[in-house]
Symmetry: C2
Amino acid sequence: MTNTTQYLKKIGIEAKKASHLMAKASTQQKNDALSILIQLLNSKAKALLKANEKDVQEAKKNKMDHAFIDRLIITSKSIDSMIKGIQDIIDLKDPVGEIMHLNMRPSGIQVGQMRVALGVIGMIYESRPNVTIDAASLAIKSGNAIILRGGSESISSNIALRNLIHEALKKAGLSIQAVQVIDSADRSIVNGMIKLNDYIDVIIPRGGKSLNKMISDQATVPVIKHLDGNCHVFIDKDADLNKSLKIIENSKTQRLGTCNTAESLLISRDIAANFLPKIIKMLHQHKVEIRGCKKTLQLIKGINAASEDDFYTEYLDAIISCKIVDNTDDAIRHINQYSSHHTDTIVTENYDCAMRFLKEVDSSSVMVNASTRFADGFEYGLGAEIGISTNKLHARGPVGLEGLTSLKYIVLGNGHIRK
Amino acid sequence: MTNTTQYLKKIGIEAKKASHLMAKASTQQKNDALSILIQLLNSKAKALLKANEKDVQEAKKNKMDHAFIDRLIITSKSIDSMIKGIQDIIDLKDPVGEIMHLNMRPSGIQVGQMRVALGVIGMIYESRPNVTIDAASLAIKSGNAIILRGGSESISSNIALRNLIHEALKKAGLSIQAVQVIDSADRSIVNGMIKLNDYIDVIIPRGGKSLNKMISDQATVPVIKHLDGNCHVFIDKDADLNKSLKIIENSKTQRLGTCNTAESLLISRDIAANFLPKIIKMLHQHKVEIRGCKKTLQLIKGINAASEDDFYTEYLDAIISCKIVDNTDDAIRHINQYSSHHTDTIVTENYDCAMRFLKEVDSSSVMVNASTRFADGFEYGLGAEIGISTNKLHARGPVGLEGLTSLKYIVLGNGHIRK
């Protein structure tokens, strides 16, 4: 056994043990731990900022770029935002223990389902210390244990946060092993975690494309995948022009770098000549580059051609691909082929087209007359999200507390046997 | 690209295409296909029996054992049972398209969830031709496409069944590619299927332990796992003796070889001296061998000792392990460590013990005062099952139509954008 294997096994055994205790913790205890964590984030902010300062200095020394340091840095404003996040989670209903569908069967037994914690979550993420607090709080409230493996550049911040979390768990009478932070920068640990089937029930990666893809491809532990957000806005022949303009503008330009930003515009050929010049004018005002299909280029002069690859691309930038489609069916076909199955929206006043789009587009969020930017745990009322899943199995779309639980069957009898 | 890779890619592309058509097929069309399949099983039974006869002869020539041939053989009685299964599936509510939890959000959008088909199911099983009909029927009703890879010894039967299924799909106006049967005995196909992430959405293995374990360990496509059924009966200190005897007898002896058969008996030390002799007498009448822990051996003379391994073992035979535990908490601890998380039951008249057992035992089915033999799709009212899942994510326990679907988010707006 290598050192890494031994280290992970030890962490795994402790996490599994803690998960059994967390699974039966009362709502009061779990909320107490979260409330104490809020107090500690307030009272010990100074020490936390100091620990973070160490990471930031190191990152600057290593010439990390501005965006990286921006994500890494903890300010008193970001502490307030962590606290707000924890308070939201306290306010959410405890999902654990809910019993549903308890029906009497002809045999005389009652069969139903009970919502229970998943067990041990393995979270692998990059250098955003706020994720440490978000993920730990969601795990605590959902009755799970969690193993956190953040970016090596935020280790000092994560250790400081872990100390606060452990103090809160201890004061609430819960096991500190319920939240473990891996404080080694050894990259072999990630490879070990994603194959630790005996102790970890689900892996949640939250990072860049290459990290997510590596984990999806190699993990043997089930993964709540978060892959690309190649999101589409489809303007149907019966779309309202003003709604179209508003929804495209918001979906593409409100924020360029988020996974629910639109990356591709589809428009029905019946209205392309009328709508497209106005849409492109609006996008040009926002300095968005349009890459068009052949028909688009025939209609609009002076824009770049889209390659086949463009239609598969999540730009995360001021670029959008554009394709003129025959009709709603053609749009659905295109989306089901090119979309990353994250979020796609139709703009239409036509009931039949709206219903077909809703039913047939195979994505985690499918929308009618709404901006793709709404695909978000808070906007959906989940209160907080640990990620946006592009899985088909288990949780699909924004994953909140419920996505960190599963349903087991329960059977109530009174001495019943099977005939 | 090897021949296998090319072959699987072709099948995968066709299945994916068919899955989009199946996802939007009407309930009427899907039920029509199933009704026609019933007619064909009746009218073409003779040809089917003849095809099966070929497999059976071959198996006899290869000196396969009696149990194997028993599973392989199709009789007019087993055709009736297939037909009954299909009729049950026709009678079930179509799960696809159901919309739930459609709530208005403060932003003005309505957010809900819609139940949709998973896409393409890859089913890998051994030589039970009835599985071909069960799995195809469940896939059709749930709006999925399915790729069936049965045991090589049943190829002739499976081709005959495929021909009937294709005729039924065609007559109902559905794509015959929705149900594909792999008619090659090449074992590399299984290895290819479990890594065919671009085309297969879920793999369901249904076979022996070694097949299931190989697939769980090596698949990169998500697997609905069906691992061991090391099921426990726990007799609590407040158990009723008669209920205990009935439930142990039924759980252990009704059928020895099923996954929901009890393999381990736990009994509270407070009642062991009183109950255990009576329980063991009953088990001996059924010729069940008892392998006991140290305390059991002190109490009962002339029985064999259980090793540590025994407590992990699914015997599928007339053997049961037996352990005297301190109390309910000790029983829960033991089960959470040794159980395969399939089905475990407590016998007790004590409310608190029953509730703790229900909440804290981490298995796909947890029961009170009922035989473990009830863990079954038909007994639970699912109508039919494609397997019993020991996964924690997605479906847990018996998997029926709903387990072959997932929920996507839907958002209804009227030109709404995110602020």
